[in-house]
């Protein structure tokens, strides 16, 4: 048992750090460190830089062109990116659909789709959720009927994050209504430029256009876009969900945001107010404890010697902490977080901000936005059901 990273791990981290700091565009890092709005171009620029280096698919095995890193290396990469102020990698392509294509797609699909994902050229979206099917994913209703060498897809997906930018979307669709709800589901890749696909924005409580409804009206999808076997999609989807790893706790971002919280508290004059400072101290303990929890999971993954039943805790705790740091940032600014000036959340805004501190502009919006974290990806209530199952059977 050893808390220190090995010399090899430290050298690896140094390499990553040097490269990230040299290649991350400073304008993007500045936006991330100040929670300013990122454009599609910001996200794409960074994705393509990573893609060129071969690190956009940083979790990929070597056989598919990835770096073949182990769990600890992936974590160190994520940490260096987060601390340097890199945007989070949009996960739908490289982190979500790619592993499914690698595991269950045929060689032709792999050769066709993986390069565009690895390079950052092709933007993928996720088509899982439907209205009325939240945590009860298997109750989905979008139909795909086989007609000759195509499927005809009809239905609606929702909460499609950044779907307005999507080139392709991977979808769970119903190809059979027989048996249990889980058994009639298939996994389809759909070109979003196909006739009959409509993307409609959903405005969230922070005023942002972050998620969408995606409608399918007699959309023709070639059968070669089916992953694996018909009606086996649930199995592949579960593989994908099990692939969501420790990064779900997002502890590295939490560490960066804790620094930002302290900067804000100092600027607002509450860092030396014992009452407020105690709240930060408690959050610091929470973040260190979460980081230890993450490291334990990583170590177990790396060595393969222990089987831990704690991965289910990461999402719950990570999301609570995300909500808490945005809450404390807003409370630190207090009255000066009240102005909700949409344009002031963009980089380079030249107007006056009430109280004069434009860094406060996005604080309330960040807080509002983070309410989603305990809802999405399996609500924390569903996560508690799962944890209880491990304890109680």
């Amino acid at each position: 048992m050893d808390l220190a990273f090995t010399p090899e791990e430290l050298a690896f981290r140094e390499e990553i750090r040097t490269w990230v700091r040299a290649n991350l565009p400073p304008d993007i890092a500045h936006k991330v460190h100040n929670a300013q709005r990122l454009t599609r171009d910001d996200m794409q620029r960074w994705a393509k830089i990573l893609g060129k280096k071969g690190w956009l698919g940083y979790g990929w095995p070597k056989q598919f062109g990835g770096p073949g890193w182990n769990a600890v290396q992936k974590h160190l990469f994520e940490e260096e990116c987060a601390l340097a102020g890199a945007p989070r990698i949009v996960p739908f392509g490289p982190v979500m659909v790619a592993p499914v294509i690698m595991a269950f797609g045929n060689r032709e699909q792999q050769e066709r789709f993986l390069p565009g994902i690895a390079s950052g050229e092709v933007w993928w979206s996720q088509g899982y959720s439907e209205p009325g099917a939240g945590s009860d994913l298997a109750s989905l209703k979008t139909r795909a009927e086989r007609v000759g060498d195509h499927y005809i897809v009809n239905g609606q997906k929702t909460w499609t994050t950044l779907g307005q930018y999507g080139d392709w979307i991977f979808c769970l669709v119903r190809t059979s209504t027989e048996g249990k709800p889980q058994t009639g589901i298939s996994f389809l890749l759909i070109d979003m430029k196909s006739p009959g696909v409509t993307v409609r924005p959903i405005k969230l409580l922070d005023g942002e256009h972050e998620v969408n409804e995606v409608w399918f009206d007699n959309v023709k999808v070639p059968v070669e876009n089916l992953i694996g076997e018909e009606n086996k999609g649930w199995t592949y989807a579960k593989h994908l969900l099990s692939h969501e790893r420790t990064n779900i706790a997002d502890v590295n971002r939490a560490k960066r945001e804790l620094e930002r919280l302290k900067r804000i508290a100092k600027a607002e004059g509450v860092y030396d107010d014992l009452r407020f400072r105690d709240q930060i101290a408690l959050l610091e303990v929470d973040i260190v404890a979460l980081e230890m929890l993450v490291l334990r999971v990583l170590s177990a993954e790396k060595s393969g010697k222990q089987s831990l039943d704690i991965a289910g805790l990461l999402k719950i705790r990570g999301s609570e902490i995300q909500q808490r740091y945005t809450e404390l940032m807003m409370l630190a600014a207090g009255p000066f977080s009240l102005p909700f000036i949409f344009e002031a959340m963009d980089a380079g805004w030249q107007g006056d901000f009430p109280g004069g501190v434009v860094a406060n502009a996005p604080l309330a919006a960040n807080y509002f936005n983070m309410r989603k974290t305990t809802i999405y990806g399996g609500s924390n209530e569903v996560q508690r059901n799962i944890v209880a199952q491990t304890v109680l059977g």
């Binding site: 939240g134 405005k203 509002f368």
Partner: protein
């Protein structure tokens, strides 16, 4: 000791509720937010109901009512998350009616009561945070009157108002002044706030002002306490509606083939929300009923109330969003607007930690509702 409402109070409540239900629906509110967060026509409707004169004496054209009626009205406005700042009108009329000269009262109170003049408090300055009583804005005597120079932040509906009540430093300490918006040297620039209501930065550059009182500190603390009581009542209205729509949603929404209201963990959350609502309602009563208590007792009581309200508002708002799931974080559905309103209210007139500090500083050996 009696917490029943009189028949008159219930009639007043019903009248305001009718207006909110029929006249201030979610669609109208959205349109007002889109248009800047304040609607003079809606404010005029409040005046027509007599609400702008609630705290104005009958001699000056008001209703001459008190804190309980103020509470009744504010709770109903909370139900509709009404954006127009009636709480400001209540405290402005109480300050002018309680501290200003007879001339000044005669000049302003009838116009406030009729809704012709919206008068709001402009006290926030950068660096003050929740402190009352300091100010960088300076007041200088000039002839019979005064001129003011300084800058005030976050003035509610500040660019739509007709006059501002402005605390400013004189050589003898903090005074409270009234400045007409049209006066030379004044400028106001408005913007939206978190909950969709309007605020403004107000700058004063040798602006002509009338003195309300030389004891600005006392008046300002009084204003804050009226503000806390009014916002507490408003928040109770918001939370009451929040629980109602959440309960409806849990009974309607199905997952795994059953209404999610059948899940015990969610039921218990609902019970906890009910607890927070009723503790908040209890302390809203307490806040309003203590508004006429001696100053030290009043200040202690209002801080206690705000500590309870702050906790209740945060819990109820956050949990309502959570229990709604995805739809809870959308702009189109009303629950996120309740949540944002409750969030903003926590940071209005001092947040929970601030008032916990006040309670802590004012602790005595014994404590209770009557002490």
């Amino acid at each position: 000791m009696d917490f029943d409402f009189s028949d008159d109070q219930m009639q007043l409540r019903d009248a305001v509720r009718r207006w909110v239900d029929k006249g201030y629906g979610f669609e109208r509110r959205k349109a007002i937010v889109a248009a800047g967060g304040f609607d003079r026509a809606a404010y005029a409707e409040l005046a027509e109901l007599g609400l702008c004169g609630l705290y104005v004496s009958e001699a000056h054209g008001g209703l001459g009512m008190g804190p309980v009626e103020g509470m009744v009205v504010m709770e109903e406005l909370g139900r509709g998350i009404v954006l127009e700042p009636l709480a400001q009108t209540l405290l402005a009329s109480a300050l002018i009616g309680g501290y200003a000269s007879a001339d000044l009262q005669a000049e302003w109170l009838p116009r406030i009561a009729s809704g012709d003049a919206l008068v709001v408090l402009a006290h926030q300055e950068r660096g003050l945070r929740y402190a009352l009583g300091a100010a960088l804005t300076r007041a200088t005597p000039q002839g019979d009157g005064w001129t003011l120079t300084g800058r005030k932040s976050l003035v509610p509906a500040g660019d739509a108002a007709d006059a501002w009540l402005v605390p400013a430093l004189t050589e003898q300490g903090l005074g409270l002044f009234v400045v007409a918006k049209g006066a030379a040297g004044t400028q106001a620039s408005g913007y939206l706030t978190q909950d969709g209501s309007r605020a403004a930065e107000v700058s004063l550059n040798g602006a002509a002002a009338q003195l309300v009182t030389r004891d600005g500190q006392t008046a300002l603390e009084h204003a804050a306490d009226i503000g806390i009581a009014a916002s507490s009542a408003y928040a109770v209205g918001v939370m009451d509606q929040t629980l109602a729509v959440t309960a409806d949603y849990l009974n309607t929404r199905k997952q795994f083939g059953v209404p999610i209201a059948s899940f015990q963990a969610l039921r218990h959350r609902m019970a906890d929300m009910k607890m927070q609502l009723e503790l908040a309602r209890s302390m809203s009563y307490y806040a309003s009923l203590k508004l006429h208590a001696p100053v030290a007792e009043r200040r202690q009581a209002l801080s206690r109330a705000k500590v309870q309200l702050g906790q209740s508002m945060r819990f109820v708002g956050q949990q309502a969003v959570q229990l709604h799931g995805g739809i809870g974080v959308t702009d189109e559905y009303i629950v996120s607007h309740y949540f944002k309103t409750l969030t903003q209210l926590e940071m209005t007139w001092g947040d929970t930690l601030h008032h916990l500090g006040e309670v802590s500083a004012r602790m005595q050996a014994t404590a209770g509702v009557f002490a």
